[in-house]
């Protein structure tokens, strides 16, 4: 009997080990949280800038606010598509000096796309090589870059708002 019990326990343990285990969702959860936070903060910044200041640029070599908003939206499609293994939708080309509403909508749509693409992401294939633009990068590094560029662009957007006398605190978390 004890022998049978031991055999049963051993068989149960072996079965448990051989079952597919759910990959920890640390990095995937992190980028989903970041997506939601940046959608809120960058979206608030884009909405907070008056329409007539969308052509503002701190210097001749720097992007206008409209270009910055469009750049973030383009980056979202560029990165979230390979990271989430989801084809990006065909979006029509939008001029960076276009109307504020169109640019804000483009930004919002791009974050919505990221949220959909990253919804089922898990940590199982973080070392898989992706092609982003013309660069090959592991998925984890693409996530690090995407998150880093959001942080950089949010800092820039808040700087633009501040220089135009807008309330930066209203766009802060």
């Amino acid at each position: 009997m004890p022998y049978l019990f031991r055999l049963t326990v051993a068989a149960a343990l072996a079965a448990a080990v051989s079952l597919p285990q759910a990959a920890p969702a640390g990095v995937a959860d992190f980028i989903r949280t970041q997506t939601a936070a940046q959608e809120r903060d960058l979206g608030a910044a884009a909405r907070g800038m008056p329409a007539d200041r969308y052509r503002y640029s701190p210097g001749p070599e720097q992007m206008t606010f409209g270009e910055l908003v469009l750049h973030v939206a383009d980056g979202n499609y560029l990165f979230c598509s390979p990271i989430g293994s989801t084809a990006a939708p065909a979006v029509e080309k939008l001029p960076s000096d276009g109307p504020k509403d169109a640019l804000v909508k483009r930004l919002q749509d791009s974050f919505d796309f990221c949220a959909r693409a990253l919804a089922t992401l898990d940590d199982a294939k973080m070392s898989e090589m992706l092609v982003i633009g013309n660069v090959r990068s592991p998925r984890s590094m693409a996530i690090l870059t995407l998150s880093g560029t959001w942080n950089t662009h949010l800092t820039m957007a808040r700087d633009y708002l501040s220089k135009n006398g807008q309330n930066v605190a209203s766009t802060s978390r």
């Binding site: 070392s127 984890s140 590094m141 693409a142 690090l144 880093g148 942080n151």
Partner: protein, 451 residues
Amino acid sequence: MARTSPRRRADGGARQLPRFVSSWLALLGLLLACAGAARAHDLPVNTMVNAFVRVHGGEADLVARVPMDLLRGVPFPTVDGRYDLAQSGPFEELARTLLADAFVLAENNARLAPVRSEGRIVPASDRSFDRFDHALGAARAGPRPEASVPYDTGYLDVHFVYPVKSTGSRFEIQSQVTVDVGVLAPLTVRYVRGDEEGRAMIIPAGADPVDLDPAWYRAAGGFVRLGIEHILSGTDHLLFLLCLVVPVRRLRAIVPLITAFTVAHSVTLIASALGFAPRGPWFPPLVEAAIAASIVYTALENIVTASMGRRELITCLFGLVHGFGFSNALGDSLQFAGQHLLVSLLAFNVGIEIGQLGVLCVMLPLFALLRRRMSPRRLVVVLSSMGGLLGAVWLVERWQVLWKVDLACSGPSCLGHAAPWLVASVAVLALVVMLSAYRKHRTSKISRRAQ
């Protein structure tokens, strides 16, 4: 035998001129395109990742120091513009998880997976990465909440432990840390064998895996390929070679020239790689300027005088200069030689000779073909004037670089004070030699006429 009438000669001349001009322009365009390629050697500002790898007792340790500004994507908490180190633990763990995918350590081509990791944020002033044992000790020491690290400065020190099958295996490393930044975020890695630390290897992010301790034949093969690639992409060396051989019509006369060039550049290449060359910051730009001057001199000599009397001597002198140029190119790669410095050095030289012979195999039949379409003297003048023009452009550019080198120094690099004057002296000397050769040539011509 019908004589060519003045009209026909004039027509012939008129027909020849556009062909002459078009071929000149085509070649000039090609050379200017090459000049553009040769200029593309700007040095980026590096954001270096430093690492040590040690394989010891069934495990491999990778200790790396990653600049915090490469980890902006991780939202480390901050207080008053400084990292809140007491609250950073989960974010350091996230950063280590991300970095575990970015450092690719392989044993016999099979990627290893880390079984544990640890690390901490340190200020930029931390000096514990001078040696492996110090770096390992620091990464294992745990967090330092009392340290003050301003945002976007300092480093994240990480330690990954990988189980290995055998210490005798072949180990390779590759960096994919912020691979989209490429050469801006290279990995400097030192392989620790027993108690001995190997030479530092600098690997651009995204580059192919690098053998941490290569076998001699692997190192040699890589360096032969590197030598071939270097000579084929070295527009200035190729232009010098062109100016050197274009006036020579007999293969028997080319062999001593090429031999002189090969022997001379081998001497300085090997001497330089073994550490006998000056180390001041002025030396590489001085060599680059002297290489440009060698092209200008050889081209002018081709145009001014048809005499090849002292060409072997001049070739030998310029070969010494080009050898220093080769060694500058090799300097960045010799780090990958492992324990096989001399073998790799000789292999690089063999690669250069193979590339040189390949270029001559194309160049010499092409010259023979062109000599059928225009007079040999005109071919020499046309190609040399184009080569000389391009060499002069490089000389001006490189002179400007040399002039900007910071000469405020102490010790041996103070020789840099003399560098621009040295180049000027060489240029004046070359001019004097050339003028004297021209005078000698004219004198002998006049005396022949008189006779």
